[in-house]
Symmetry: D2
Subunit: 130 residues, 4 copies
Amino acid sequence: MAPFIRKVNYYECDAMGVVHHSNYLRYMEEARIDRLARLGYDFASLASEGIVSPVVSLECRYLKPVGISDTLEIDVRVESLTAFKLTLSYVMTSRGTKVFEGSSVHCFLKDGRPLEIASRFPLLANTLTR
Amino acid sequence: MAPFIRKVNYYECDAMGVVHHSNYLRYMEEARIDRLARLGYDFASLASEGIVSPVVSLECRYLKPVGISDTLEIDVRVESLTAFKLTLSYVMTSRGTKVFEGSSVHCFLKDGRPLEIASRFPLLANTLTR
Amino acid sequence: MAPFIRKVNYYECDAMGVVHHSNYLRYMEEARIDRLARLGYDFASLASEGIVSPVVSLECRYLKPVGISDTLEIDVRVESLTAFKLTLSYVMTSRGTKVFEGSSVHCFLKDGRPLEIASRFPLLANTLTR
Amino acid sequence: MAPFIRKVNYYECDAMGVVHHSNYLRYMEEARIDRLARLGYDFASLASEGIVSPVVSLECRYLKPVGISDTLEIDVRVESLTAFKLTLSYVMTSRGTKVFEGSSVHCFLKDGRPLEIASRFPLLANTLTR
């Protein structure tokens, strides 16, 4: 699937003139929501059903800084899938260079109770990368 | 009343090495919530009653930049009060110099309907500066 | 000129489920930088020349809340122009309804000294709306 | 050493009414800068020497959500120290319950070149937890 394209905003850069490390989590979220929407799982529709998807844990590796004139290509993949946990991996590149790698683990809750992922989101299994 | 004291955080500074202008609205909110809490109007208690207070409009004048080593003293005052509108004014100083002036206009909603301010928040009238 | 289009991000919404009022200043900045770039005044190029453009003051009027499923159309205009001050106005609409109006006043500094706007940015005068 | 105390701000909460997961990285940064300052390594002084400390990688485990009425106690420890890498660990508790665990790896750069940590920051070795 085509990567999610995201231009860096001025207000996302810190005093070193590069994107503050906390903002990569926001880029990960944007790319994740976009990826799920393209599979047919629209965030706003899910929310109206009472479904939310908290972040359980995450990891980030900052490889190269990016700045105000840069654009990121963000590739999101389904890394693993169990009954109640979805693991996504992220690779961000800018001008052909890998600048960031990360992963996030999510559960899904419907009205506050754990939701079995495969039954509600069958298409996720198809996208498993291995 | 004593000013609200707020140390600048690194991640609030932009590529010019100074606090990004959008963050002053967050400082205004922190100081406003603190001010109302000290009058006995605690934000979380109000929220649990179904009361919220959207910003209707605001104005900012950025007088001097502040950076990572700076601490702000924020003075919040009740500028005017009508049946449904509260206007607050803010002066921020750092190292004895005025760095920012602003104002914000708020209404109060209970369960989505306009709330008459004086009847629910009688102490606000006492703090009118003029 | 075509408006700047901006999808709302989940992380920009607050506990009321709507865009936090501070984030409109960031949308204004994105739309302003995009507008100047389309006139040929690219932010990163200006920065490399030592030119920055601090916000002197601004005003916001919040007309309707917008939420996670919304997209904003942001129209930026040159409201007035003097030797050293540029005033821009912003109208944001969503689903055909005006949701926000604002304005911002800027100066330009080159290596920390005031820059005469018309001589460095001649095309701005052409875009004056009145 | 006493934990770093941090009240949650309204604007840090998302549409689920809890602190957005990206903001924990900002709390980690605040607690880290405070911890180093209390050892005598003040961020602004370091910056004026040309020393910066980028984040190389990090991990976060989100155990319990926290909301607008909550205050965090953040404990920062030196987990390991090599010639060029510092690993810090973070535990955040609220009302006596552990809500977050994380770690971050940092290098130090002086004028863009790697800095041997032990020679410039000798007191860090004393604080090793194991």
